[in-house]
Symmetry: C2
Subunit: 460 residues, 2 copies
């Protein structure tokens, strides 16, 4: 059977695959910093050449930002689109890295062998698992099992400004039966997982203004309005005593978990004590009448992500500041409309303002929650394929984060998306000393071979 | 009568006095920046030479920081000590200055002629009013009217680290019957004023700690404790709904105003609408059952002077921060002990901490309120002398700020202090485009001549 031959080929070719990944990891394709624009283009060019080396008709497609890479393989059966991103996060603080972030090292650690470099897990290593699976398949069978479009982005870590316009302009070319996205992780670092639920998000910056200028707290203290006080009251009032969000209408239209999903999640055996213990915490701090998995997957949040105002340097300055600021985000779930939540927040803030104090708002972005249609047969086929590769049965899981790309495939191209990835909780993505487990890279590649085999035989 | 001759002399010599002040203002004696240490020494040397030119036995007295200037004039009658400071605030943001801060300009403005330069009002111009009064007195009478010690500091704008040790080491030399301090202003910019009540202060920095590291608000949001939320609740809880401070025991032992003082303050006709209106405010924001003057002079406060945590740069980062910070100060009044207030704040914060959240405290300083003993005959003598110089009757006033030097004279040297100054509310001390009114300089000098005349005739 050809799948076994492909899996053997993947095993045999692992050292070469690793060499290719290391070559890609050496390119410092930091998308948010204009100084690295040429490196982003170089990474795109490297991917184009690598896809072409497998016989894929691939091209660099320039945009107003960093280029896309698009490749096509015709074929019978379902038409799949695979998405990954070749850009990486900045590396600062550089002094916390034990090795050069762009000189990938293979290290043996107590938890196994790892590839350490910026982008190894997010997302170059994950992206290459799919490419390497296709390469092995092609080498063994002379062709790929179905029509596949490769679609790599270079702006995922900098807000994807070119993504939706590019999708819109090239919709006829990109539209496929199903999008595969490899940018997520395994559940509790060991259970292969298909993400079926993503939270949406509203991000908002608020500036509270008091006096025209910073005042001396000796001459004005006790008489003049202090905008930090107002901001503190506003933020403190966002949550009630049991962790619920107080905005009027915030929980309207949010569905409860189905009994089936609730039972499935209970079966996952989420170890919240360990999850929190790994970061020095012990107690679920959210809605006290919800389970820990609900808190992070299926319940919305209000979080203050940044706050500043007045004197924040060394020593002390007795200033009454003219302004105070906060960055506030809301993770949204099914049923919540980003515009409505933003309006509710702004209305709440406005009602809390005392005399002489005003508020200004700056919207940073908003996206709805993403709910995957797992009833499509491809989902169960992929789940069985994953389960065959790994010691544990694959699970449908939620993800508390917001991955807007999944929603864009639905909204712009009318496609369902399936998120499968092999990252581990300790990969340190976005942090110093990022790594990707060799197991993730090797078994991830094998997983895609199994999934391609399963999906090409099903109707995605 | 000799006083009239002295006043005439002051009038005649005003152009020369102004030239001397401009020379002193050209020296950039910024005490907080080590780059200006030589300039601080140069300012001290200039003052020594200027005092010597009047026949005063003056010397630069080096300290571990910037030098003191001490000069002595023997004499009969009361022994007075005059204090001022020759160091100035930094000038940044330099781009907001209309002229070079160290190239003093004489300008005619709609409100009258001014001397514009850093330090013109705080405190070189004020300091020189006393020196010029002594110079004129000496020139007219050949001697000064009583024993006077001149004591100039060069670290007032950088926390006065050498002041108390110097006072302790030279207590026998510095002790006098009364300290005169010229570093305050006129009430509502027009009423000559003797400050008889200064607020004390406790400054405290608190760090609220949650997780060991910054977390991703997608993966942890809704489950993990957010220290910004805890900090917001703590700060919001510091005040009740009518502006009172909630710390247990905060208002214990605070005396009410005497009926006499309350009547006197009512007679001052404080125009709080104008005072607040000048900075874009309209409503007294403090304790709603107190008058505006009580809010800033005789009632204690809790103010957040700085707050920071999480991501505060451009754009948005969905971080749950490991820490959040605030700088909090309490202005204290008679009866409040700084240590007790600090302890009460720390105890309150500690009771507000949820599971997994801790607090660390850093004390920045503390000083008691200062209450001057106005029953000493010198106060009424000085008040009458001031009233003779200005169109308005001089007033005893409070000051919401904290001027620790007054307390040091009491605590270290056992001396009463009298604070008289001629600054205006719009002098922009500590800000760009600082100025000192020519009226303040001229009539301030004349005021000191009158006060010297009055005090030398009384028993200070």
């Amino acid at each position: 059977m050809s799948l076994d031959a492909v899996l053997s080929r993947i095993d045999d070719q692992l050292p070469d695959a690793l060499t290719r990944l290391q070559t890609l990891l050496r390119i410092p394709s930091i998308s948010t910093d204009p100084a690295y624009a040429a490196d982003c283009r170089a990474a795109a060019d490297w991917l184009v050449a690598d896809l072409q080396s497998i016989g894929i008709d691939a091209q660099r497609r320039d945009t107003p930002g960093h280029p896309m890479v698009v490749g096509h393989v015709p074929g019978d059966g379902p038409h799949l689109l695979f998405y990954g991103h070749y850009d990486v996060q900045p590396v600062d603080p550089l002094e916390l890295w034990k090795t050069d972030p762009f000189d990938p090292q293979i290290e043996d650690t107590p938890k196994g062998r790892v590839i350490r470099a910026r982008g190894s897990s997010d997302d170059k290593g994950q992206l290459m698992t799919f490419v390497e699976a296709c390469r092995a398949w092609k080498e063994v069978n002379g062709t790929l099992p179905c029509a596949i479009t490769f679609f790599f982005e270079g702006e995922e870590e900098s807000g994807s400004p070119s993504l939706v316009p590019f999708m819109q302009e090239n919709a006829h070319e990109l539209r496929a039966d199903l999008a595969l996205i490899c940018d997520t992780g395994m559940f509790q670092s060991k259970t292969p997982a298909i993400v079926t639920m993503l939270r949406g998000m509203v991000t908002e910056e608020v500036t509270i203004k008091g006096p025209d200028v910073d005042l001396h707290s000796g001459f004005f203290g006790g008489l003049a309005a202090n905008p930090i006080h107002t901001l503190s009251r506003i933020l403190a009032g966002l949550h009630d005593d049991i962790g619920g969000v107080t905005l009027p209408g915030f929980y309207d239209d949010i569905p409860e978990l189905t009994p089936e999903l609730r039972a499935q999640w209970e079966g996952l055996g989420f170890d919240h004590a360990r999850f929190l213990g790994d970061v020095g915490l012990s107690t679920p701090a959210g809605e006290q009448d919800r389970t820990p998995l609900e808190m992070v997957w299926s319940r919305p949040t209000a979080e203050v992500n940044g706050i500043w105002g007045g004197y924040t340097g060394a020593g002390f300055k007795t200033v009454l500041p003219a302004e105070a600021h906060a960055k506030v985000s809301f993770r949204l779930v099914e049923g919540q409309d980003p515009d409505r939540i933003r309006d509710a927040f702004r209305a709440y803030v406005t009602t809390q303002l005392p005399d002489d104090v005003t508020a200004e708002f700056h919207a940073h972005g908003g996206s709805r929650a993403g709910i995957m249609q797992t009833s499509a047969p491809a989902f169960e086929a992929a789940r069985r394929a994953l389960s065959n590769e790994w010691p544990e049965e694959a699970a449908y899981v939620g993800c508390g984060g917001s991955i807007p790309i999944a929603g864009h495939f639905g909204a712009v191209l009318g496609m369902n998306a399936m998120l499968i990835g092999f990252g581990k909780d300790d990969d340190a993505i976005h942090s110093p000393n990022e790594k990707y487990d060799m197991e993730s890279f090797h078994k991830g590649t094998r997983s895609w071979a199994r999934i391609l085999d399963a999906l090409s035989a099903s109707s995605a």
